[in-house]
């Protein structure tokens, strides 16, 4: 850092920003924690979902008329592939139970003494 004290002073624009931010932050945090905000999120979420749904329906009709897959079709296929992948993972986990155990990698020791002889709490 500079040896010149004026070089390390907080710039005026930052001082102004900090003052505004300090005043606004708690007000905004209270606002986003309010029931009214939750209601706003609920309503806006519903409206945006409804709008997106209507848009998708419209585009799906157009694309299907042109014999093309729509985003919903791709999403459905990805869900199907995802389900299959999840089943493969499940089978892999089941198979892993029968795999030979790996060799120990480091110097071993007996089970921690702390498990068998609990130490006194230090709080």
């Amino acid at each position: 850092m500079s040896s010149n004290p004026r070089s390390n002073a907080t710039p005026l624009w930052k001082q102004a920003f900090d003052a505004v931010e300090k005043a606004a932050a708690p007000v905004m945090a209270d606002a986003t924690s309010s029931d009214a905000f939750a209601e706003f999120v609920k309503t806006s979420t519903r409206i945006s979902r409804d709008m997106a749904k209507q848009g998708e329906e419209l585009s799906r009709r157009v694309l299907h008329a042109l014999n093309l897959p729509a985003a919903g079709d791709v999403a459905y296929l990805k869900q199907q592939i995802g389900s299959l992948e999840a089943e493969v993972r499940s089978l892999r986990r089941a198979l892993a139970e029968f795999e030979p155990k790996p060799a120990a990698t480091t110097t071993s020791r007996s089970k921690s003494a702390s498990k068998t002889t609990p130490k006194k709490a230090s709080s």
């Binding site: 907080t10 932050a25 990805k78 992948e85 999840a86 609990p118 130490k119």
Partner: protein, 369 residues
């Protein structure tokens, strides 16, 4: 205090060098412009997760990593379990600013789970997927690799919920010590801004997208609601100190984590809304997983609950007293004067907070022969 300020001001006036000041301001402006250009172009970005490691195995999107070390002197090994909604590299952010590096340096053999990025295949994952399938397999695998030495399990944030419920439902698994960092158990005390889904008529289905998961942007949005001005304040701070190479490096590393969340598996989200937010089932010790009641009293291994007094994501009130709910005779609560991330990242974390946790872990470990 006033006298000190006056003294600094006086000495500053006496030492003021106008030519040096101008030269310094020009140099700063040039360096700042150069750093800002590189930042905006994405050139020479800060590198994260630099500790040397190797993959032990993968399980779906999840990977179990083992950190290479030639100085392992303590047993049992440690398994770090990060949150499901953020990137795992927060626990190994940068050299000199890394929980992993610290633990390796103290002689622990360190493993970490990276839950990866859930996709459609993970949409059906439930809490049981993690607590009854993945974590048991990982812990048993580590235990076998170390010839039955057991494992110190360390859970952070939502990862702490997973380790807590895993330990309570598998009391015979080779867990030697359990460390819980910023683990929410009382959801009545969680910030309202993070609990919009479920309690105000916003159904989980309204939040879950076509992949079956809660999209990453919604996860990030819920964190942003807690401190709505934080993003702007961060940018302002960056612009103020953009001439400082080290600051820019730290800023890039930190923001690469805070702005890069991962989708939250839909099945776990439904359970979170229903069991945690709706029933507050952990606090009331009434949680049922895989058809069986999970009793925290079944945790009997040495236990450390760590909470941050300034944590605005998992407030102290939402996790305080956890050490009294478990059945461990050796059960400790550690309160740190830090925030959610400040407990593991930054100078205070590296100098005081992490050493306080690792001191407990060292005291509950044994030297290797």
């Amino acid at each position: 205090m006033t006298a000190t300020k006056s003294s600094e001001s006086d000495s500053g006036s006496a030492a003021f060098d106008p030519v040096g000041f101008v030269v310094e301001q020009v140099t700063r402006t040039m360096q700042g412009s150069w750093n800002l250009t590189k930042h905006l172009l994405g050139v020479d970005r800060a590198k994260t997760a630099q500790s040397p490691r190797e993959e032990v195995f993968r399980d779906g999107a999840a990977t179990l990593w083992h950190y290479r070390s030639s100085q392992v002197s303590l047993s049992p090994p440690v398994l770090l379990v990060p949150s499901l909604v953020s990137r795992a590299f927060i626990l190994d952010l940068q050299p000199g600013n890394s929980l992993v590096e610290h633990l390796v340096g103290r002689g622990f053999d360190v493993y970490m789970v990276d839950w990866g990025e859930p996709n459609e295949a993970d949409a059906g994952n439930t809490l049981e997927t993690y607590t009854h399938e993945m974590l048991p397999r990982m812990v048993r695998s580590i235990d076998e690799r170390h010839d039955g030495a057991g494992v110190t399990v360390f859970g952070y944030c939502f990862g702490g919920i997973l380790t807590l419920l895993y330990a309570a439902s598998h009391p015979d698994d080779p867990i030697v010590n359990l460390v819980q960092l910023a683990t929410p158990i009382d959801f009545d005390e969680m910030p309202k801004a993070m609990m919009i889904a479920g309690v105000n008529g916003v159904l989980p289905e309204h939040v879950i997208d076509e992949t079956g998961n809660v999209p990453a942007r919604s996860v990030r949005g819920s964190f942003s609601l807690l401190t709505p001005t934080a993003d702007l304040a961060t940018i302002a701070g960056f612009l103020e100190r953009v001439h400082d190479d080290q600051f820019v490096n730290n800023y890039q590393a930190m923001t690469s984590w805070t702005r890069d969340h991962v989708p939250f598996p839909g099945g776990v989200f439904r359970q979170t809304v229903d069991m945690f937010q709706g029933q507050n089932a952990i606090k009331t010790n009434s949680l049922v997983l895989a058809g069986e009641k999970v009793d925290l009293g079944d945790i009997t291994v040495p236990f450390l609950n760590v909470l941050g007094d300034k944590d605005h994501i998992v407030p102290a009130a939402s996790t305080i007293g956890l050490h009294e709910m478990v059945g461990s005779k050796d059960s400790t609560e550690l309160r740190l004067p830090a925030g959610h991330v400040g407990m593991i990242i930054g100078q205070g974390a590296m100098k005081r907070h992490i050493p306080a946790m690792s001191d407990w872990m060292v005291a509950h470990s044994e030297p290797l022969d």
